[in-house]
Structure formats: structure tokens, C-alpha cells
Symmetry: C2
Subunit: 687 residues, 2 copies
């Protein structure tokens, strides 16, 4: 559906003949702004893109992957599509892309890495339930199924011969997985498990793809053998038959419209005595014998690293995706802020980028996006150690628990930083940021659930802090954070890094001491932890930010960076440090807070000329941003006006309700009188 | 459209016969939780409701007004309605309610106060463009039109015989109103103004109601008389004729889907030489003579205070509405957090309200909602002084500029607090907060534009700070904020109030000094202000929070409060103070930050038993909250499940795209084999 042409064109004037650098009836006059900005940059954009991707080869690979969806863009039309239409397009395009992948790489040969899957999500133009199939469903099959089971379901799933969904959460239990109520009771007479959601709260709730797309589910349930309870286990359950009709005993629902992510069919499921073969218990770590005995698999320990590495990879993908979404929002907001001018005085308008408050808001988020992207790569490389067959299992086992805690912390912080950062960037676009066609509004909505799903941020941070306190790896506070560094100190990333390290250590010490005191007073463990929960969260957050900062700093000082890249990264890294300190409302003297503020202002002034190049380096195509405000050529006013031509399709003319409700109220005589006068006057205009 | 009945009912069991306190297949088992919570409260809910409304008479009046829309609820169906359907219902219900008002009060006699209009917005079940007609359009007519003009358009508008929209913002200019480009050129030959949007950026952009509903607009344009420019003035322009067709030279558009507020038709407009009578310039303050002379009306006659009081009333309504929306979100999140249980151990689950982090998040927002509501009432009463005919104009003129600055600050802070607070409350509902049917998701979206419209928060805060600095009403810092109060001190609202006052004074001094230094160095005024912008924003924010805190404190210590109300308000007020201090990341020593945290934990523990009663006191009906999670009876699981029965209406079965795209990929033989097995097994279950 194309909108009606530019009215100028309708009138026979050629709008494209008008220079787009001259403000006029059909031109916003902004065409030369972004090219000018780009010319001001201190570094080469492509160098920075390579830096972000991790090398030129990776950039090439990413671009190749992203190119698969070229031509499939929904464009601004997306923002007018119904849920059903979005799902339809998601299914069509996803299948087309994946068929093509298979074709190019030799059928069935292309197995993307987790980093590559995250690139696909980051550059996806229309998210939907195939994500659940590829990520949680296949990950669980790989991590918890035996080889035979993977051959049965995993291979079929990879070829899209069956489609999976991941059913863990229930109406009554999300964060507390051990509290799940769905039961799987072994019936030795038929050699089957009987699955039941015995209460309203036990209904499976939220699985993406369950309501509409999936044929199979991995269902988590309490395993019952005779009178014994064995805790939560994973089962494969077929949901639909070959005509896509739900099987007997399976009642499926759809949760309804959400804040965003509209094409994603989030489902719910009641199980009324559904029987599945005994072999459908995922049995990498244990199995149930024909006579109902529970047997742990001997090599379980040997398999544990696989389990951990798949968790780490999943969390690294969340971090990577968070960095990507934040980077997209930065791209839109920085470009728009370069193009748009606004001020208090008509004559003295500035580019928004030159208003200091706006500049600080934008550039701190750019710094965050770089930090999160570098952190994701760091996490991926730490995971490599777990997968390295050269490293002895014993060493791995020692590494793993703290990696698990840290990756949880980083997932929590990265998704929070993205959610809060995108929203602040969106607000910095003024009223236009509220339109879905801005692109940034959709970004603000579609991933907002990431702070909650696969680990609510509070729950993850508390779990990580508990682990740290338990391990009591509390080093005592090494520095004097109450000294007051100067603005110049704060502009030096290394000094701030040291200080953030101190805060991480100190805050953990404070939290651990509080827990220890409570314990000493005889408070029950759980209550002691609950009383100290705020302190624990703070400690975990400091530690997470410290890890991010370390990742950023090591990329900054890596050998082989072109010197201009190093220079700009140093500034950005220092700015990230200041941002962390203010975000944590670090305990500091008032004067000290002023120094941080001053350092941020100066760093942002230094980074000003690189702002557009820093976001160009993220390398997002217009079709991926799908944004009026973030168009690469900077012709935002043309784009906004064009988008407004599509608004009418959502309403009739006159609107439904006019004749029945409004017209009877109106003074139509008065209106017709005014209209007659206007028509006569209009004739005068034409003369 | 009613969803299919509870499946249990379909099966012939009577679900209502089951006790809803016993967890079962059709009951969440939560029916007695909220009644128990209510019994724990230390005060009487109705006393607090009176306190919030400003007395029993006001409560009665508010309830009467709210009762007008009873029976018009859209219910959960709302979250599935299209934009066109929402607008249709808005128009139908709005007209019905207002016809009924007229009927009850004597036709044309009911003129609600601004506070009452804000109540209507707060309790509206479906927002839409009549807001623009009643608030900005009528306010501008009243404030800027002469009596004769009000008789022509205002009276018709009040009777809904014409419908207005307010067209100030343009594609290129929002915050900078002086930069508007639309022109109104006087044509003496025809005694008309000719209105033009000469450039793409001049297109009118955003007016609510313009795209579909309105018949008239107030259009802001640069007034041109011969070769002279007289700046921005307001003109009345008829947009549509008696069959609702746009008049010649007027091109209207609709901006398309937004993050929320879907039934609101935000429009845009190009004016191509539109001619209007000379009398359509709003002329309370000036007029243009027949021969094109610009004549200012004498100040006294113009009654400048009216202009100010209407601005103050408008801003007070924004503050009031922000308090209301935050209060609704608190109601939903607190009730849900009382009902829902979650924990790390199955056996040891707590109500969410008993997890300390959750409790602090909830109760600080409850404290904020009280603060914002009290502040709105304070602002309304300050406005009364401006309207009081007993006070000499001279005194009023002295009061007004600082009231203008403060009301801008409060509008900025209140809308920010609501936007950020509602989103944090939403996240505290876990995954379910992402569903529109939660009610809180819709709250988080529908008003998000309030931080931007009628004054972007940054722009308002900077303007207020500039005023303060210019007036150089900078008192030097009276106390020693770098001393470190104990947790006990922080639990005492009065001490915190003193400290916040100190911070307000100190931060203004810092900002003013910075500006003065720059000036002394010869930096141009505008650049000096821009360099100090962060400091200026901080200063204005402290001052605004201080004003809120004062309002809260004075309500707390007001004579006539029942003692239990005083007690709980003291705690809540102290908590608000701590929240302000942490939100501003006040410059404080690390140990001091710990003390604030400890004070907040203790205050929240003291307030724990009052949590549900504190939100019940806001007095929102279920039909207004329109929320599965916030239902008054606490049967949230039943409500959630019921909502999920409606999800299917958004998709076909099987979904559109199944047959053409997915089916060809699937291994249907495998699926049919599994299905056959499942059907045989299901027979076994039935035996
Ligand atoms: C869009 C979306 C898609 C999803 N997709 C899937 C899917 O495909 N499959 C699936 O199985 N699930 C899915 N989920 C569910 C998701 O995993 C859960 O939402 C998540 O685990 C959080 O659980 P909850 O929603 O029950 O929140 P709750 O656990 O009820 O948390 C509510 C609040 O309580 C607090 N809280 C909870 N426990 C504690 C504690 N122990 N200590 C302190 N505070 C606590 C939290 O911080 C939070 O503020 C999805 C959710 C969403 C929103
Ligand atoms: C839902 C909605 C409804 C609306 N309804 C109406 C309506 O009915 N009628 C109408 O006329 N308008 C309406 N508006 C427009 C609204 O008034 C403007 O959005 C608002 O004035 C802000 O202007 P802007 O959007 O152009 O943002 P901009 O002014 O472009 O601001 C963008 C960014 O620049 C910053 N900035 C701008 N100027 C300065 C400065 N001088 N110093 C420092 N920073 C600055 C801001 O802080 C912001 O971050 C509506 C807007 C929305 C979103």
C-alpha cells in the first residue's frame, strides 16, 4: 500500500528538482547536514565498525547474514499492521530466509553460531515466535536431551519440520521455578507420563509461539514416580496434529495484545491428563526405567559444562541484543538531533546536539551501547574457555559458578540499561519520538520484556549477590573512595575504573557484613538475605558495571587499534565511567558530584564532532531502523510528512461515529455559512 | 463480545460453587487475601480518601462526576479495539455523558472547574480528542479571545455545536514557539488574513482532534501587516464544512499509530492561502484595524492575570492528572503484589510485598503519588490568589512570574515522576505487566507524551532556572548538607525537608555562580546559560521537589487530621523525602547513602500493613482501572485467565499464513503419526 504522492507532485511540480538543501514547500532543507557532520569526524567509520564487530572478517560475515533479509522490509506500513498480519509476514519471511540460507550453504549445512543468531535478532525487521523455536526450544533440546532425542526432535526442528515452544512459566510461578505445579506422573501400566495442570495457577503461561505457531513444546513439570517427587523436569509434548488442530486434552489460549512485539503469539496451555511416551522425558542427565525407577546418568558431571556454556551463550545473546537495540536507538536519536534545530530565540537556533543537556543524554547512551556491545563479546570469549576441550573439567567446574553469577548480573544490567536508555533517547526526540513511525518508539516497546523474561533483573542480581556473599570472596576495600577526584581525574577512564573497582569491593563488604550481623543475631538465613536485599543488589550492580568497564577499557587499550580510534574510545570509555557513577548515585560529596558533571560536559564537548560517526559505525541499514527520524540521508522532514500520508488508512472519512453521534450535535447551519464564506474567499486566492 | 465461558462451566461444573480461597482448577485461591490486608490497616480508608480529595464534600462531588460514566466501560475488550473503534466509542460516550450532565444540571448550566475536568480525565475510561476541545482550545479562546469572540465560538464550543483543536506546533518547531513559520498576512483589499504554511517545516503538526473530529482550529501564525512582522498570534480557522469535508486550501493528515492513546487522532495541516475574516484574530490583547494598523489593548483592560491564571490552572491539571495516573498504577501494583506470592524456595514463598526490594519500589511510588496529588491542590489554591478580585493587580503582577516558573517546574517533575514511576511499578508486576490487559501497561503508554507536550521537561526546567538566576533570588547556603545524618534523622520528614531546602538553595547558588563567572569572562549570555544547563536543571529540580515536599508536609501537619492519618502520612512524607534525595543522587558521603537506604527500609517496614489501604484510599473503581492485576477482590488469576480467552479473536485458526507458508515445511507424516498415538492414549485417560 503506497501512500498518495506528495501533493506537490500531484500539482505537477517536480519536487525532486527542488534542492533539498533549500527549505521549501516540499523540502525540509536538511540534506547536507549529515554529510557535513560525517566530514567532521576524527576517525574512519569503517575502522570503528570493525572494532565493534571484532574484526573485518566478522563485519563481512555479519553483513552477509543481514543481507539475507534485504527486500523483505515492511517499511512504515509495519506500524499499521494487525497482529495477524505481522505474524503472517514473520512466518513467510522467516521461512524464505532460512530456505535461502540452506540453499547457499548446502542444505542443512548452515548452523549459525549464537553470536550470529543474535545478529539476526538485532537486524530482524519483524520479530516473532520463530525466536522461541530457535533459541529457548532448541537450546533446551541440546542442553537437556540425549543424542537420540536430539536426532528425533532437534534435527526435525532445524529443518522446520516441527516447530517448538518453551513452556516453563505458569500463571502462578515465574521467578520461582521450583514452585511449578504442573505434574508429570508415570503410569507404568501404559509406560507413559500423564501431564496435568491441576490448578488454575498451574496453567502454562507466556510461551512464545504456543498460541499459534508451534507443533511441539518442551514442558516443565514436577516428576512423580509412585509416591516420590523428583522435582522439575523437561518433557517434549506434541501440541497439534498435521492439520494444526490441538490434540485432545490440550487447551490453548493467546494472552492478548502487549505493549509491543505484536506479531509474537504468547500462549497459555491447560493440560488435562495428556499422555506422552516415557521416552519424552529429556534424559541427558537422568532417565526413568520401564519399571518407574529414577536413574541419574553417570557422566552427568562431564556434561555439566555443556549445560553451563549453553546458559552463558544464551545470556551473552541477551547482552548482545540489548547492546544492539540501544545502539539502534542511539543511531536514530543522534541523527535526528544533528538534523533538528530548536532554540529559545528564532534567530539563535542550535542543532539539538549543541544543547548541552541533550548532548550529554545522547552521548552517555552512545557510551553505554559501546560498553554493552564490548561486554557481550567478552562474555562470548569467556564461554569459549568452558567449551575448550583442552581445559580440564576440574578447572572448568571451578570457573563456572562465578561465570554463571556474573552472566546473570550482566544480563540484568544490560537489559535495564537498554530499556532505560532507549526510553530516555526516545524522549530526547520530543513529540515525534511518540510516533511508532519514529522507529525509536517501537524499539522502546518491543524489547521491554527483556528486563523480566529469562530472569527478572532483581531476581538475577540478588541471586548473583547471594553467590558472592556465600563464597565470601569479599576483599576488603582497597582505596579511599571518599576522596574527591577532580573533574580532570574523572575524564581519565583509568582512574574511574579504579574507583569503580573500589566501590564494587566496598559495597560487597558492606552487604556481606550486614548478612553476617543478622546471622550472628540468629535471624533465619532467608530473612537475613531479605533484610540486606537492597545492599546485595547494589553490590551485584557495582560488580557488573565494573566488569563492563573492564571490557570497555581492554578494547580501548587493545593493540592494533588505529590511533584515532583509541583516542575517541578513551573519551567514550571515560564518559561511561562517569555515567556508571551517576547512575549508581554513588556515595560522594556534593563537590565531587559537581566534578563528575563537569567532566561529563567536557568529554561530551570533545566527542561532539564524532557523534554522528560514532553511531554510523554501528552500521544499521535504513530498512532495519525503519525510522523517519533516523534516516541515513537526514531528510527527516520529508520522511515524517511521508509517514503522515499513511495515517488515514486507519480511519474512514468522515470517521465512523460522525454521522450517528457527532453530526446531530453540530450547528450545521453555522458551519455551512462559514464554509460558503470560505469558498468565496478561496476563489479570491485563486485569482 | 463475550469470551467463551470458563471451560469448567462448559463441562457442567459450577465454578462459582467452588470456594475461591481454595486453589483449584478454576480458582486461584486468593479471594481472602485483600480483605485480610485491609483488616490490617492502621487507619480508615475513607478518612484518607477525604484527605486526598480535600474534604468529604469534594469526595462526594468527585464520586458524582465519576458516576456519570458508569456502564460505559469498554472492559478488557478495549485492548483489542482498533483506532477507529476507539475513536467511535470516545465520541459516542463523551457526547452521551455531556448531554446527561446538561440534563441534570439544567441545560448549559454545568460548567466544571478545572479540578473537576482533571478528575474527568483521571477517571476517563477511554481518552481521546474531546480533551483538546475542552482543554487547550477552550482555554485559548477564554484566555486570548475577547468577550464577543467567546460569545461566537466559546459558547458554541461549550454546547458541542463546533469542535475545536489547538494548532501551535509545526513540523519544524515545537519548543521554540517564536520560530513558527506559518504566516497570516493581512489583505486590506478583502479585509482578510491569508494563512500559509510556506515550507514543509511550517506544516501544523500534532494537534489532537484535527485529523478527524474538529470543525475549527486555533492556529498560531506570524502576523504580517504590510512589511511589518508582529510575531506569533492566534487565529480561529474553520476546517470543515457541514458535511465534515475539509474546506478549500486546507490539507489534513493523520500522524499514524503512537505508543498509546490510540483513539486520539493527532493531525497535521498544510494551509495553502486560506482566507479568514480579520475578526478571526483573537483580540483580547491587540487587534488589527480595518486599514491594517496593529493596536495593543490597554493592559488593565486586557486583564493579564486571567492569562496567567489559565496557564496555572492548566499546569495544575497536568500535575493533578500525573498524580492520578501514578496513583492508579500504585493501586494495581500494590494489590497484585499483595496477592501474588513468589520466592526462591517452594515452601518459603512470600507475598511480593514482603520482598524488601519490591516493597521499597512500591511504597516510594505510593509516597510520590501522595506528594504529587497534594502538590496539585496546593497549586490550585495558589492560583486562587491570582483570581481573587480582592487582591490588587500590582501585587498579582509581582507574584505571577515566579508562580509561572514554579508551575512549569512542577508540571515537568510531576509528569516525569509519573512516567518513570509507572514504568517501574509495571516492571514490578513481572511478565504480566507487559500485557495491555494488566491495565498498568496501558497506563505506562497512554500518557507518556505528557513529559513532552505543552512543555518538554528539559525546556521547562531550564526556563524556570533561568528565571530564578535572572531574578538572582539566590540565598546563600544556610545549612551544612555535607554533615551525615543518621538513619533515624532520615526517618524524620522535617529534618529531610530542611536538608532538601538547603540543597535547593545551594544548587541554585552553584548554578548562578557558574553563569556569573562565564559572563564575567565575556561569554555570550546564551552560551553561558547553555554551559551551565545541567546545573540549572538540577537547581530547578531541587526547588520543585522542595515545593512538593512542603505541600506534603503541610498536609501531614494540618489541623483536623485524624491521628492515625497523621501518623501514616508522617511516615509516607519522610519516605518521599528519602526518595527525592536518592532520585537526585544528592551529593552525599557513602555512609550517608547507606543511612538513607536503611531509613527507607525501616519506613517501608512500618508502612507495610497499610500498603493496601493506602492505595484503596485513592478510590478507583474496577471499571476505571480496567486491570486484571488490580481487581479490587484480588482474584487476579481468574481475571488473567479470563482475559486470555479473548486473545484468539486477534487471529484466525489456524493462523493466516499457516497453509501457504508453514504447512509445506512441516513433516506432516511425523505429526500425524504422533497425533494418532496421542488420540489412542487419550482414550486411555478417559477410561
Ligand atoms: C514477552 C514475554 C515472553 C515470555 N516468553 C516465555 C516463554 O517463551 N516461555 C516461558 O516459560 N516463559 C516466558 N515468559 C515468562 C518469563 O520467563 C517470566 O515473566 C519471568 O520468569 C518472571 O516471572 P513472573 O512474570 O512470574 O514475575 P514474578 O516472578 O512474579 O516477579 C514479580 C515481581 O516480584 C519480584 N520477585 C519475584 N521473586 C522474587 C524474589 N525471590 N526475591 C525478590 N523479589 C522477587 C520481581 O523482582 C518482580 O518485581 C515470557 C514473559 C514475557 C513478558
Ligand atoms: C501526543 C501529543 C499530542 C500533542 N498535541 C498537541 C496539540 O494538540 N497541539 C499542538 O500544537 N501541539 C501538540 N503537541 C506537540 C507538543 O506541544 C510538542 O511535542 C512539544 O512542544 C515539544 O516540541 P517538539 O516535539 O518539537 O520537541 P523539540 O522542541 O524538538 O525537542 C526535542 C529535544 O530537544 C530539546 N530541546 C528543545 N529545545 C531546547 C532548548 N531550547 N534548550 C535545551 N534543549 C532543548 C528537548 O529537551 C528535547 O529533548 C503534541 C505532542 C504529542 C506528543
Amino acid at each position: 500500500c503506497t501512500p498518495p504522492p506528495f501533493p506537490e507532485a500531484r500539482r505537477g511540480r517536480d519536487i525532486f528538482a527542488m534542492s533539498s538543501d533549500v527549505e521549501g514547500r516540499a523540502s525540509g532543507g536538511t540534506a547536507s547536514i549529515l554529510p557535513t557532520e560525517r566530514a567532521r569526524a576524527s576517525f574512519t567509520t569503517l575502522d570503528m565498525t570493525h572494532k565493534l564487530d571484532g574484526g573485518a572478517a566478522k563485519t563481512a560475515r555479519r553483513r552477509w547474514i543481514v543481507s539475507m533479509s534485504a527486500g523483505m522490509e515492511l517499511g512504515l506500513e509495519k506500524y499499521h499492521m494487525s497482529r495477524a498480519e505481522l505474524l503472517d509476514r514473520h512466518v513467510r519471511d522467516f521461512i524464505e530466509i532460512h530456505a535461502d540460507f540452506g540453499h547457499r550453504m548446502g542444505v542443512g549445512k548452515f548452523k549459525p553460531t549464537r553470536e550470529e543468531v543474535a545478529w539476526m535478532s538485532e537486524h530482524a525487521m519483524n520479530s516473532g515466535p520463530f525466536w522461541d523455536h530457535y533459541v529457548p526450544f532448541l537450546t533446551a533440546l541440546e542442553g537437556q536431551g540425549s543424542a537420540a532425542q536430539f536426532a528425533e526432535w532437534g534435527v526435525r526442528a532445524a529443518k522446520l519440520q516441527i516447530i517448538g515452544t518453551y513452556a516453563q512459566t505458569e500463571l502462578g510461578h515465574g521467578s520461582n521455578v521450583r514452585g511449578l505445579q504442573t505434574t508429570a506422573t508415570f503410569d507404568p501400566s501404559s509406560d507413559e507420563f500423564v501431564l496435568e495442570t491441576p490448578t488454575l495457577r498451574a496453567i502454562k503461561w507466556w510461551p512464545g509461539g504456543m498460541a499459534k505457531l508451534a507443533t511441539h513444546a518442551i514442558v516443565y513439570a514436577q516428576l512423580r514416580l509412585g509416591t516420590l517427587e523428583h522435582g522439575v523436569h523437561a518433557f517434549v509434548v506434541q501440541l497439534r496434529d498435521d492439520s494444526h488442530t490441538p490434540l485432545p486434552g490440550i487447551e490453548l489460549g493467546e494472552l492478548g495484545p502487549k505493549m509491543g512485539d505484536a506479531g509474537h503469539d504468547s500462549g497459555c496451555m491447560r493440560l488435562l491428563g495428556v499422555r506422552i511416551p516415557r521416552q519424552n522425558l529429556l534424559d541427558r542427565y537422568q532417565h526413568v526405567t520401564r519399571d518407574g525407577q529414577y536413574v541419574k546418568v553417570k557422566e552427568a558431571a562431564a556434561n555439566v559444562p555443556t549445560h553451563y556454556s549453553s546458559m552463558l551463550l544464551t545470556r551473552a545473546s541477551w547482552v548482545q541484543l540489548a547492546g544492539g537495540q540501544l545502539a539502534k536507538a542511539c543511531t536514530i536519536a543522534v541523527r535526528y538531533s544533528a538534523v533538528r534545530q530548536q532554540g529559545f530565540v528564532a534567530s539563535g537556533e542550535r542543532q539539538l546536539l549543541d544543547h548541552t543537556v541533550q548532548r550529554r543524554r545522547l552521548l552517555t547512551q552512545v557510551a553505554s551501547a559501546y560498553a554493552v556491545k564490548f561486554t557481550a563479546r567478552q562474555l562470548l570469549s569467556e564461554t569459549a574457555a568452558i567449551e575448550d576441550p583442552g581445559i580440564p573439567i576440574k578447572d572448568k567446574l571451578q570457573l563456572m559458578p562465578s561465570l554463571a553469577a556474573d552472566s546473570g548480573t550482566l544480563k540484568a544490567l544490560a537489559t535495564l540499561m537498554a530499556a532505560d536508555g532507549i526510553e530516555d533517547l526516545r524522549r530526547s526526540c520530543g513529540g515525534n519520538g511518540y510516533l511508532l513511525s519514529s522507529g525509536i518508539a517501537a524499539l522502546a516497546l518491543d524489547d521491554l520484556w527483556h528486563v523480566t523474561a529469562e530472569g527478572d533483573f532483581v531476581v538475577l542480581l540478588l541471586a548473583a549477590a547471594r553467590f558472592l556473599v556465600k563464597r565470601s570472596q569479599v576483599s576488603s576495600f582497597p582505596g579511599d573512595a571518599e576522596k574527591c577526584p577532580s573533574a580532570e581525574d574523572w575524564m581519565n577512564g583509568e582512574k574511574t575504573l579504579f574507583l569503580v573497582g573500589c566501590m564494587a569491593a566496598q559495597s560487597l563488604e558492606v552487604a556481606a557484613n550486614r548478612v553476617a550481623e543478622s546471622r550472628a543475631q540468629g535471624v533465619a538465613e532467608d530473612d537475613a538475605l531479605n533484610d540486606a536485599a537492597e545492599l546485595l543488589m547494589t553490590a551485584a550492580s557495582w560488580r557488573g558495571y565494573h566488569k563492563m568497564f573492564v571490557a570497555f577499557h581492554s578494547e580501548t587499550s587493545a593493540a592494533g587499534n588505529p590511533p584515532e580510534v583509541t583516542m575517541v574510545l578513551q573519551r567514550l570509555c571515560a564518559l561511561f565511567g562517569c555515567y556508571v557513577v551517576t547512575r549508581m548515585s554513588a556515595g560522594m560529596l556534593a563537590t565531587c558530584t559537581l566534578h563528575v558533571g563537569e567532566a561529563m560536559r567536557l568529554l561530551c564537548a570533545q566527542l561532539r564532532d564524532d557523534a554522528v560517526a560514532l553511531v554510523d559505525s554501528f552500521d544499521y541499514e535504513d530498512r532495519v531502523l525503519n525510522s523517519t527520524l533516523g534516516v541515513k540521508d537526514g531528510r527527516v522532514y520529508e520522511a515524517l510528512y511521508d509517514a503522515s500520508r499513511r495515517g488515514f488508512q486507519d480511519f474512514a472519512e468522515p470517521f465512523s461515529g460522525y454521522t450517528s453521534h457527532l453530526q446531530p450535535m453540530l450547528d450545521r447551519e453555522y458551519l455551512s455559512h462559514g464554509a460558503a464564506r470560505a469558498r468565496v474567499s478561496a476563489e479570491r486566492s485563486r485569482l
